[in-house]
Symmetry: C2
Subunit: 629 residues, 2 copies
């Protein structure tokens, strides 16, 4: 009998979490077995909200344009409707991503899950991968044997074919009913005892309700409804059919499309509504639960709905799934590429489970707002002005907006997110609000700069694609002032024992990387240099040492005015809270979260601090200059 | 013998001008015979520059995204290099579309013609049309007989098939060697006696020349070269091989790829350059000529290179072709739809020939700049600051930038572009700088506003797609102040004899236009209402009469701050130079050029002035309220 086929990873499930993971790892060259038990991608309905931070991520993968081709609906504001004597009236609106959040795309993008799935599937296929359908998983074990310790049994859903393969990793993106989770014996903990039965309907309507193209929360004496606009002139209605707080609570309670429509008609009075067509209708119970573990052995992982279930109202499901997958993808990549110790894999659960806990807390709060608290117009207006009076409700709203936009997602300090207890302690490391407004475990602020080589005005945070590499941003301050510091940094990074050089591509055999803009010298990192000078005055070869000028496509002039820092000369420096004169070095993780910020000074200190951080991150001894010489 | 097939139009040639015309007319429902004598679209090389105004147009057609999918190069700045003792040095750079031009996309987009052609061909096919290849025209005549007075003889290029068809119109987009032009006996007038032989080479290079990703004009003692970046990491070089001002001028002079490369190497010293691959190379003579007529009978038309040939340096060929086609397309549509008298067709030649004349003048000036005048860094710097000292050179540059960006294109007053000699004279018509900063025959200024129904932040100038309709912008000022004026306007427009009502869709048979956002009541016009109020305060049904609220997807809040009018409360009103309190009505032609601006006042005056204008435009008696009642 021949030995089983081997794969780097077996991915079970081709929903958002499985597809994001598969897309990343396929792009980065891994061999993947990807199965899904459905014969086709999602045809209609299901999750549909892409939050601002997720749109950043899709753009970073070059997939935003493909999503936008479908002309999704964009939600900029949420409207609140409350009962009055005539039926309902609008009490206020607020921004879904208010101005106090510095988002490049301050809106939620609504598009049905199937179209989004197809964008990923196309990308996987373009890169030589595929999703095998309809196949399912029937067994697995991690026997610890060899380089591919996980054995996985797969089967066509009709039982006609079976296959056993071996893999380095197994990932369950199976959704709420996860075979893998069950087999592992991992429990779902229900944090909030309140459960709900939801009715959801997508369709094309005729109505005189004025906010039908807005996201709306409508409370009336006849019940509550949530309205969400969709692509193709459709609208989604969410109606709570039953709640465990109801006196006659029954989790199996159901409702027909006609009943939901009649219910909606009553809620919307005095406005009228009728349906030209119904595209999708479903009634399903939702509990708010979270898996106790995301992995037991750091070989078999789970993510997405397999780990957390919650109500659909805040549109977080797909977004959480995306970010689960990206978080895991780069860590697996770094372990397999030799850039990180296996221990980094433990941060997948610790980072992502915290987010899921926050999501469930938020979901519970949101449910409470939805069903109980009705904000007054005055409170709502206050939330979008600067002179806001921060009562509890507005505070909750504000925190929620940050969270739902995806920018409030914050990873706690650990080995990769520097903090006061991090093993790397160096006087040049800049903590939050002491020399920088960046926070470790959060995304870089968006900033618009001018690319020097072609004078294109670009979004700095998007300049390095999602390539699995750390992102080293050299904010160079004023070149005449920092030229020695930059030269000294280059000198110390050129030392073979530095993090910069330790992972360099082998020079033999020589691969021609002349036209490679992002990873010319290593896959471990990509590098951007941002100088506080007008573009025309920046002479890349004259101002930068060769190891930095080699990244000539990633040299930027910080010369674009920004409304958020109107008095700054170098707006990108200013937005990051860095000295416009002296600059600093910002290390960003491959998934876009800040790892550490280090002062840029003359001498060896900057390189030393960076080496200390990367020594912890990579598990390698770095920066011992004498040893290496 | 059966009678010949009939078409609305026969289009000969599937280059930019033919494809743009075919795309518009196919979308608007016309029956088209479209042939091209090449077996395939352009494979490589040829024209490639999309100017800012053309990009607006492509976006307005929903085609910009398709173009951008190919990741074209974007030129924001032009660099000038001059000889010095070491070889060459940069003397300065300037913006290709400087800030004094209010452009939504202030850059030139570079993509090879074949990819652009494919975008149009896909659109034509999506709408049920096709381009028949390789077929050619062998004869035609306008015998004035019947509804399809033009007989056209067509033939497969291998002579195997022939077909004679009849059409309402014939269009030649054949390029410089136009059978139709020759047959009509229309001469090309060579305005500038200087002719050139050009070498052009597309390829991937290795070089230490720092501006290889910029558009550059390089003068060295070894000759001159123009560098233009391209998609796929390519660069185009233009090298003048011979000029009629040379002592040994020979229009048949040629050059090999190797000779051009050697020449380029000498010009670029002290920098080095080598080619990884050459994608396309061609040497061709260029004369600067213009056809004496674009049509003789307003049945057989020509456009694009068939009417004007010039040097490729300013990248205007494709852009002029696009605008020729759009100009003709809507006029044919309006004649055939009964919206305009046939006499409107004469404005195609008068408007577009003037542009071609300007282009040739510009081309001659530009050639002179290219081969003679070398701007100093000081002059160049001056041109992009507000405190500019306007010497002759900067003036020329400034005028050129406006022209090359496409925003300097201005049509003279005629029946459709109101002016002091227009037959419609009414006290409420606002001339340029007397109540508006808009100029007839020029495009609307770009303005960002909030769409009321969905709170989306949108580009007002893009909100009505290129649908062949006039665009009526009701800048409504402050609603509390203008409510009576708006109501009065609605009352008068509701009169059956108004331009608004005269072309209304017949009410029987009733077609369901509930979901039609742009043309719910007529194909003659689309309508936008822009109010000086925060979005949340705009109650569409409460504030607007039904004939305006019917266009509910086109109601906007003028509440987005604009850096160009930082003190304005209603930036869109302010940018158009209109009263932020009182507003005004702006009529824009279907191709995006302002037709007339009329004050918004209480009573019947506003409608009266608009009816006077449209009476001239449409050739119908309009606005005679008593007659109609």
């Amino acid at each position: 009998m021949s030995s089983p086929e081997t794969y780097d990873i077996v991915i079970v499930g081709a929903g958002p979490v499985g597809l994001m993971l598969g897309t990343c790892l396929t792009r980065w060259g891994y061999r993947i077995k990807h199965i899904d038990n459905r014969p086709e991608p999602t045809a209609t309905g299901r999750a549909d909200g892409i939050q601002p931070r997720s749109l950043d991520l899709l753009r970073n993968m070059g997939l935003k344009r493909k999503v936008m081709e479908h002309d999704p609906a964009k939600v900029y504001e949420v409207a609140f409707w409350d009962p009055n004597s005539k039926g309902i009236h609008r009490t206020g609106t607020w921004a879904s991503c208010p101005k106090f959040i510095d988002a490049r795309y301050p809106f939620t993008t609504l598009l049905h899950q199937g179209l989004i799935e197809r964008v990923f599937i196309e990308d996987i296929e373009k890169n030589g991968g595929k999703v095998q359908r309809p196949w399912t998983i029937t067994g697995f074990k991690n026997d610890g044997v060899g380089s591919h310790p996980v054995e996985v049994d797969l089967e066509h859903v009709d039982g006609s074919q079976k296959e056993t393969v071996r893999a380095r990793y197994l990932f369950s993106g199976e959704g709420a009913r996860s075979f893998v989770r069950e087999k592992l014996g991992v429990n779902i903990r229900y944090k909030d005892p309140i459960a709900h039965v939801w009715g959801v309907m997508d369709g094309v309507v005729r109505t005189d309700f004025p906010d039908i193209k807005m996201k709306c929360t409508i409370h009336s004496d006849a019940g509550s409804i949530m309205v969400i606009p969709r692509e193709n002139n459709m609208v989604r209605l969410y109606i709570q059919v039953a709640s465990s707080t109801d006196p006659d609570w029954n989790p199996r309670k159901t409702s027909t499309a006609e009943e939901v429509q009649e219910h909606a008609k009553k809620i919307l009075r005095p406005y009228t509504i009728s349906w030209d067509r119904v595209e999708w209708f479903s009634v399903y119970p939702i509990g708010q639960g979270i898996a106790e573990n995301y992995t037991l052995d750091e070989r078999v992982f789970m993510g997405g709905d397999a780990c957390h279930t919650h109500s659909p109202k805040a549109g977080q499901g797909m977004n959480t799934a995306f970010l689960d997958a990206v978080n895991l993808a780069w860590k697996i990549h770094h372990v397999e590429a030799g850039f990180a110790p296996r221990s980094i894999l433990s941060t997948y659960e610790s980072e992502r489970k915290l987010i899921a806990e926050n999501l469930l807390d938020f979901d519970a709060r949101y449910a409470k707002l939805f069903s109980a608290r009705i904000p007054s117009a005055g409170e709502v207006a206050g939330a979008s002005t600067t002179s806001m009076e921060e009562n509890d409700f507005i505070k909750t709203f504000k925190a929620s907006c940050e969270f739902t936009s995806g920018y409030g997602v914050a990873y706690n300090p650990n080995t990769i997110n520097w903090g006061p207890d991090h093993p790397a302690q160096h006087a040049l490391i800049l903590p939050y609000e002491k020399g920088t407004s960046l926070r470790t475990g959060r995304t870089l602020h968006p900033a618009t700069v001018t690319r020097v080589v072609d004078a294109n005005v670009v979004h700095l945070e998007q300049e390095i694609p999602l390539n699995g590499s750390y992102r080293l941003y050299i904010f160079g301050g004023v070149p005449s002032k920092t030229s020695t510091a930059i030269k000294d940094l280059a000198t110390h990074l050129s030392n073979p024992s530095s993090f910069y050089s330790a992972f360099a591509h082998p020079s033999i055999p020589a691969v021609d990387r002349y036209h490679e803009p992002h990873n010319p010298h290593t896959d471990f990192l990509s590098l951007c240099t941002i100088l506080n000078a007008p573009r025309a005055e920046i002479d890349i070869n004259g101002m930068l040492p060769p190891i930095f000028s080699r990244y000539r496509d990633h040299v930027y002039a910080d010369d674009v005015w920004d409304q958020r820092v109107p008095d700054a000369k170098a707006a990108a420096h200013a937005k990051m809270g860095l000295s416009e004169e002296d600059g600093a070095i910002v290390v960003v993780r491959p998934d876009g979260y800040v790892g550490v910020v280090v002062k840029l000074v003359e001498g060896g200190g900057t390189a030393e601090a960076l080496n200390m951080y990367f020594q912890v991150v990579t598990g390698r001894r770095l920066g011992d200059e004498r040893a290496a010489l």
